[in-house]
């Protein structure tokens, strides 16, 4: 019986995940409340099946009963969170809650397989993050006045990343994290949210909606001030050698400015500015050149800078469509697999069909985010939702694009799936803010 389960598991898991993914998109089109409720509950069921299935396979492979214990605890967490959210916020998006739990569930399965220590830490941080963000949707909608301390957000963000840039610890050549009371924080993950709040404030002032001369002048002034702030953020990120982070900040600014000013020329202008920035980074920083080389021709540098990406390509390629099966691959051969290369580990063991479904679920998450911006009425919250959408989508793009050799590696996490406390908590904050905006507008 055991061998039957193990033998079929990779097909069954891919099948359940395909059904889950299908329901992500069915959810957009289904009409009345009854139907949407049905879709969401069915989808949650697939989520539990995938999670249980993954942990069952790991239990048979390792024989460790602790695995089943964690499996049960995590499902209590998921179901508890789903129920609590619906009770507290009847207007929130069930599908978005499901996606959030699904990402966490996939992360748990892979982390348990890859590194039980990371798995335990991730679980504790997830419990903490879900609890701490529980009141946030309420706060998002209600304490509107707080959000108006625009410059406080803008300046405190800069101060924070500056502090980290000067005092922080150097990991893998980048100065990114700071230790407070033994817990290390990756500040830029949180500063991202401060930056989005700042931009939402400054770009939603009344002058953006009037057409008098004074409005136009004020608009230009605000655009310039926001530009100066954005430049400061991006520069500090570049100097702390976090180019992935710098790119995310840049994208957030470009798209939020484009939405606020509604000028089409902003996009091509930003593309040119981005290209110049990448070119300068290539010329100025040896580590950027190394990443480019490793991207263009990884097999020539297979024992050096191309090692990670070639291991990732081997993992994805050897796993092929249905994967090697959990615990039957060698994802641990990829350096930093739990943070940067979790997608490759999933593709290797659970298969590329599974991985494609994961990309589709990320797309559906992005669509739900940007939907909150579209359905919103308050300009501040529309901008806030857009900023979060862009930040999320671009980070997913950098991560998956990097590990599949579509673009050079930038070393960012796959939100909620990758191991990493700061990334998990900050993404949970973003999901909660979106839920707040959604619940506020009473849609989905």
């Amino acid at each position: 019986m055991t061998t039957v389960i193990l033998g079929l598991s990779r097909y069954v898991l891919a099948f359940f995940f395909a059904l889950y993914t299908l329901h992500c998109f069915l959810g957009f089109s289904s009409g009345n409340e009854e139907e949407r409720r049905g879709t969401a509950i069915l989808q949650a069921l697939f989520l539990i099946l995938i999670h249980t299935g993954g942990f069952t396979v790991l239990y048979f492979k390792t024989g460790d009963p602790e695995v089943l214990f964690f499996c049960a605890l995590q499902e209590v967490l998921f179901i508890g969170y789903m129920v609590l959210m619906r009770i507290l916020y009847p207007g929130c998006s069930r599908l978005l809650i499901n996606n959030m739990c699904l990402f966490l569930a996939l992360g748990f399965v892979m982390l348990n397989r890859l590194s039980p220590g990371d798995h335990l830490r991730q679980f504790v941080i997830a419990v903490f993050s879900l609890i701490i963000t529980l009141p946030l949707p309420y706060l998002t909608g209600r304490i509107k006045e707080l959000w108006r301390y625009t410059y406080a957000f803008g300046i405190s963000g800069i101060v924070l990343i500056l502090l980290v840039a000067v005092l922080g610890q150097v990991t893998r050549g980048s100065r990114l994290s700071i230790s407070i009371a033994g817990v290390s924080f990756q500040a830029s993950e949180f500063v991202k949210i401060l930056f989005i709040l700042f931009l939402s404030g400054i770009l939603s002032e009344d002058c953006f909606f009037g057409d008098s001369r004074k409005d136009r002048e004020l608009r230009s002034i605000n655009a310039v001030i926001s530009g100066i702030f954005a430049l400061a953020y991006v520069s500090i990120m570049v100097l702390s050698r976090d180019l992935g982070g710098a790119a995310i900040f840049f994208m957030i600014y470009v798209f939020m400015l484009y939405f606020a000013l509604k000028k089409p020329w902003i996009l091509p202008a930003a593309a040119v500015a981005g290209a110049v920035g990448v070119f300068l980074a290539y010329k100025l920083f040896p580590h950027v050149r190394n990443r480019f080389l490793a991207w263009r021709d990884p097999f020539s540098y297979i024992e050096g800078q191309g090692y990670q990406i070639t291991q990732s390509l081997f993992a994805i390629g050897t796993g092929s469509w249905f994967g090697m099966g959990l615990n039957d691959g060698s994802p641990d051969k990829i350096p930093i697999v739990t943070r940067d290369f979790i997608f490759s580990a999933i593709a290797e063991e659970l298969g590329c069909i599974f991985a494609v479904c994961l990309i589709l679920v990320c797309i559906s998450t992005f669509l739900m985010f940007i939907n909150a911006a579209m359905a919103g009425t308050d300009p501040f919250f529309r901008l806030l939702a857009l900023g979060i959408s862009v930040s999320y989508a671009f980070q997913v793009f950098l991560n998956i694009g990097g590990v599949t050799k579509f673009i050079p590696l930038t070393g960012v996490t796959l939100p909620l799936v990758s191991y990493g406390g700061s990334s998990l908590l900050s993404t949970a904050l973003m999901f909660a803010i979106i839920q707040g905006i959604t619940a506020r507008e009473g849609m989905l």
Binding site: L6, F299, T310, F314, T318, S320, M374, S389
Partner: protein, 476 residues
């Protein structure tokens, strides 16, 4: 009114653009990712750096390798201790062509590695095996190797060190590939320390593709092509009076066995393989231009083989000294090339200037014989114009009719080729025996390229051996 309607955009216009932008980018990544998995991954993961092949081996029983005539060349079998081993029924005969899979992979075992480790058995059967926790049967590969031709080539080379490679010129199918000294792939793993330490014989080296030798007179074909290119209308007017040697500056070039060829034109110089005349031609042509022609004929380039091959080298340029110029023109000097490379040039000449990509895997079948994929001949590159190929073919035909390849003359289907006796080392008179050529010049069939290390002259040793192979193939 109409103008106003256009101006009045939806408040979500920008959001829609941003949404479509990101969704498009994600879909592009999805396509890129799927294309990698479907098209490029099988090749990428067949790298010796990919330790994950061991994971595949735990799930799949390595498939069988067949010859084109249906003989088993490699299969999984039980030894007398009931341990699963890789069994090679032909032992040394296919040592380099089929290769081995235990100490790294080489030969067909390397080229077809991922196919051998992939199971395309019927789905229900695969599921049954997976449910039972058993391994599936890997796919079989059917090679282009012909056991009869391989045996002829293997026997012909006898106790000599050297290599033979036989390629079908119109398709690029490799029909036979022999390299000696050889080893028994059945015991290569057990005897690894001994075999790999034998640097005197280097039995692991596939001399056909990896061995680099001075080409000797076989290189005159390249020099000839360059001379024709530089003197398109007048090359037939070339004339040289051979007195058995040629002196250029301080360098003296002797004809083989110091033969005196007398007054020769270009065709006679080539058919008699007159070193003095070709040394003279070497002084008449532009060294840079000869280097360019050599480059077009794949010198200093990776060869289009699926298995590992050496890179031939040709270094002559306008800065080279007098000795190097005349030595290079007759295939001595610093020039080195592999027999397989020589074979490719001959194939291109026989095939109107177009080189077909050489390949050794004809098709992949599942273990029950259902075809999974078939490889058809594909053009690799044009190495020279059709007219140039036609002229070189006539010259090579003449070598067999009137020159150093006369021992092939009375073959019923005819032949064309070029011999070579390449001097090596410091002792005068030691030479490798070369032949490269093809059968049936009217409608070329196969090319045969032979090198016998230290055997002597090409016409005395390599040519009769080529004859045995041409005869074994017969007329088709």
């Amino acid at each position: 009114m109409k103008k106003d309607r256009i101006k009045e955009k939806s408040p979500n216009h920008e959001l829609h653009i941003i949404m479509y932008l990101f969704v498009t980018v994600f879909l592009v990544i999805t396509v890129f990712f799927s294309a990698y998995v479907y098209l490029y991954a099988p090749k990428t993961i067949n790298s010796s750096y990919n330790m994950r092949q061991q994971n595949l081996e735990r799930k799949v029983i390595r498939g069988t390798i067949y010859s084109s005539d249906g003989e088993i060349l490699a299969e999984q079998a039980m030894n007398h201790d009931n341990v699963e081993v890789r069994y090679y029924p032909y032992k040394e005969m296919f040592a380099h062509a089929v290769g081995y899979s235990t100490r790294g992979k080489c030969g067909a075992e390397y080229a077809g590695n991922i196919d051998l480790l992939t199971s395309n058995a019927p789905v229900n059967e695969r599921l049954q095996h997976e449910m039972a926790g058993e391994r599936n049967y890997g796919d079989s590969i059917i090679t282009t190797y012909d056991t009869a031709l391989q045996k002829t080539a293997y026997d012909a080379l006898g106790a000599y060190k050297g290599a033979i490679i036989v390629i079908e010129v119109k398709t690029g199918r490799i029909l036979a590939m022999v390299s000696k000294p050889d080893f028994d792939p059945n015991t290569v793993s057990e005897n690894w320390a001994e075999i790999s330490a034998d640097t005197e014989n280097s039995p692991l080296v596939n001399r056909a593709t990896q061995g680099l030798y001075p080409p000797g007179s076989t290189f005159k074909t390249v020099t000839l092509l360059e001379y024709i290119r530089e003197n398109p209308g007048t090359y037939n007017d070339y004339s040289f009076n051979c007195k058995g040697s040629y002196t250029y500056g301080d360098t003296r070039i002797n004809c083989f066995h110091s033969s005196v060829h007398g007054k020769v034109d270009l065709l006679e110089a080539y058919e008699k393989s007159c070193n003095s005349a070709f040394a003279n031609i070497g002084t008449l042509i532009d060294p840079d231009s000869l280097n360019k022609t050599a480059g077009e004929l794949l010198f200093n380039k990776e060869l289009p083989f699926d298995i590992s091959s050496g890179k031939s080298s040709f270094v002559l340029n306008s800065g080279s000294g007098e000795e190097e110029i005349v030595q290079s023109a007759i295939g001595q000097g610093n020039t080195l090339m592999s027999p397989a490379h020589m074979a490719l040039i001959t194939c291109a000449i026989a095939n109107k200037g177009v080189l077909m990509k050489p390949y050794e895997i004809e098709r992949v079948e599942n273990y029950r014989g259902t075809v999974i994929k078939e490889f058809s001949p594909e053009e690799y590159k044009r190495l020279m114009s059709e007219e140039e190929a036609e002229i070189l073919k006539e010259y090579m035909t003449d070598v067999v009719e009137n020159g150093t390849g006369r021992k092939l003359k009375d073959l019923p289907f005819g032949a064309a080729g070029k011999t070579g006796s390449a001097e090596y080392g410091t002792i005068k008179g030691n030479s490798h025996s070369w032949f490269t050529g093809f059968s049936n010049p009217e409608d070329p069939d196969i090319s045969v390229t032979i090198i016998m290390e230290g055997a002597g002259s090409g016409s005395d040793y390599a040519v009769p051996m080529a004859r045995r192979i041409f005869e074994a193939r017969g007329s088709r």
